[in-house]
């Protein structure tokens, strides 16, 4: 089990790296251009990588019936969701954060941006996992769940993306990052209760109708 989780993390990080290094090939290796788009590219790649592992968040439990047991257990379903989200973040978000400096090097990001890149990703990726959990719960038993998941979840990721990139850009430009960090923090604090409630509600839906 732990080995499979580890393998999952490796695959997610591999995708992250691959997605990012496509850009120098597509956009050209000129350092200035890469440096300009680096925060955005890294963030978008992080979004897409997060999404890869979301579909299976509840899928196996749904299919083998253990989801029903989780819903009926005395532990509040919201807590189960939060536990799953933490697990998802540890195997997806955290590896992405650790891999990001390497990618910043590939994209010629200026040194000023590195600490903020790490901080913004650290604040933002848990929110992505939370929002993703809602999507993963909603599509249980749906046709073409994978594509549908992207359609549902990416629009909701956009605020995190906007402020995450803005934080890194501000640090690179020497401006204050306080506002962006506060908003990223607020997004996380808002997402934690709202998403765990919504995901739990969706899980109950899925169990009730199967």
């Amino acid at each position: 089990m732990a080995f499979r989780q580890g393998l999952d993390s490796v695959m997610v990080v591999m995708f992250f790296i691959l997605a990012v290094i496509l850009f120098p090939f597509g956009v050209g290796p000129e350092g200035n251009i890469l440096a300009r788009i680096a925060p955005g590219v890294i963030w978008v790649a992080a979004l897409l990588s997060t999404m890869l592992s979301l579909e299976r968040l509840f899928q196996t439990d749904f299919e083998d019936g253990s989801l029903e047991l989780l819903v009926l257990s005395p532990v509040p379903l919201e807590v189960v969701v939060v536990a799953r989200v933490i697990g998802h973040w540890l195997t997806t978000g955290l590896p992405l954060i650790i891999a990001s400096p390497l990618l910043a090097v590939f994209l010629n990001m200026h040194a000023d941006g590195y600490p903020m890149m790490l901080a913004a990703l650290a604040l933002g990726t848990p929110t992505l996992s939370l929002i993703g959990a809602v999507g993963a719960a909603l599509i249980l038993g749906a046709r073409r769940g994978g594509v549908l998941l992207s359609l549902l979840v990416l629009p909701l990721f956009i605020p995190v993306l906007i402020f995450g990139v803005s934080a890194v850009d501000a640090a690179l430009g020497g401006f204050s990052v306080k506002a962006q960090l506060l908003i990223l923090g607020a997004l996380f604090l808002a997402a934690a209760p709202l998403c765990s409630w919504a995901a739990a509600a969706a899980l109950r839906q899925a169990v009730e109708s199967s």
């Binding site: 809602v134 599509i139 749906a142 359609l151 549902l152 629009p155 709202l194 919504a198 839906q205």
Partner: protein, 260 residues
């Protein structure tokens, strides 16, 4: 709005309406009577709004004739937003109180809201080119409206993604509620951020900032779009109720045939 008014008039009225039209059959009868009126009123309002807007009202001294796009852009944006709010209310009422028609209302509203959002984006873009020099800009207002469009599409996709239609509606109801965090962002985006888009000029603290000759066609068009929304909503709700009935009858047919 005084507290007494809310307690003694508004709540009982809403309660009454919700209870009365919880019965699908009664809703069908009411909507059959009301839709011709909605049709007539919509045509009247749209006709007079368009006449005033296109022929009578003056060209703006700053924006010249392009200001006329306001008469189709603002109503579309306004209804696109209100429709989603309505859907969120319907989703909440359906999930919490299990009102039989709440989910029907939400599901039937979605295509209408999606089209209005598309029209708001399109007309806004065509207005933006002559006015600001660009078809698109990634400011807070336009971006959040684009997100709204994707929320509508996502809702409709999720709704249709399940073999069991009941599962589809209740699941997408949760989605609507999660997405409703976008609504305050849309509404207040022009105030919170420096955006290219114009800040509020009608509903604001000092009263409308538009001249009467332009305000009237605008209000008429907003009213026309609203009655249009209710008109098409009722048509689509009727279709949905009949489809549910059809499914039930077909299932009964299958059971009866299996029994014989």
């Amino acid at each position: 709005m005084s507290r007494n008014f809310i307690r003694q008039v508004l709540y009982p009225a809403i309660n009454y309406l919700l209870h009365r039209y919880a019965n699908p059959a009664r809703f069908m009868r009411m909507s059959a009577r009301v839709t011709p009126w909605l049709a007539g009123i919509t045509i009247l309002l749209a006709g007079s709004g368009l006449y005033l807007g296109l022929f009578v009202s003056p060209a703006d001294y700053q924006q010249s004739e392009t200001v006329r796009i306001m008469y189709v852009h603002v109503p579309a944006a306004w209804i696109a937003l209100s429709c989603y709010v309505g859907m969120a209310v319907g989703a909440a009422v359906g999930l919490i109180w299990k009102h039989p028609l709440a989910h029907v209302m939400t599901k039937s509203s979605a295509p209408i809201g999606a089209i209005f959002t598309f029209l708001a984006l399109l007309t806004g873009s065509l207005w933006g080119k002559p006015m600001w020099g660009t078809y698109w800009v990634w400011d807070a207002r336009l971006t959040s409206m684009l997100v709204l469009f994707f929320l509508y599409i996502g809702y409709m996709a999720l709704n249709n993604a399940f073999d069991d239609p009941g599962r589809g509606t209740t699941t997408s109801a949760i989605l609507v509620l999660v997405g409703s965090v976008n609504i305050p962002i849309i509404k207040f985006s022009v105030e919170w951020w420096n955006t290219l888009h114009q800040p509020a000029s009608v509903i604001r603290a000092g009263g409308p900032a538009i001249d009467g000759s332009m305000l009237w066609p605008l209000l008429l068009m907003i009213a026309a779009y609203t009655t249009y929304y209710v008109w098409v909503l009722f048509i689509r709700m009727r279709t949905d109720i009949m489809e549910t009935r059809l499914r039930a009858l077909r299932m009964r047919q299958v059971h009866e045939q299996a029994g014989t």
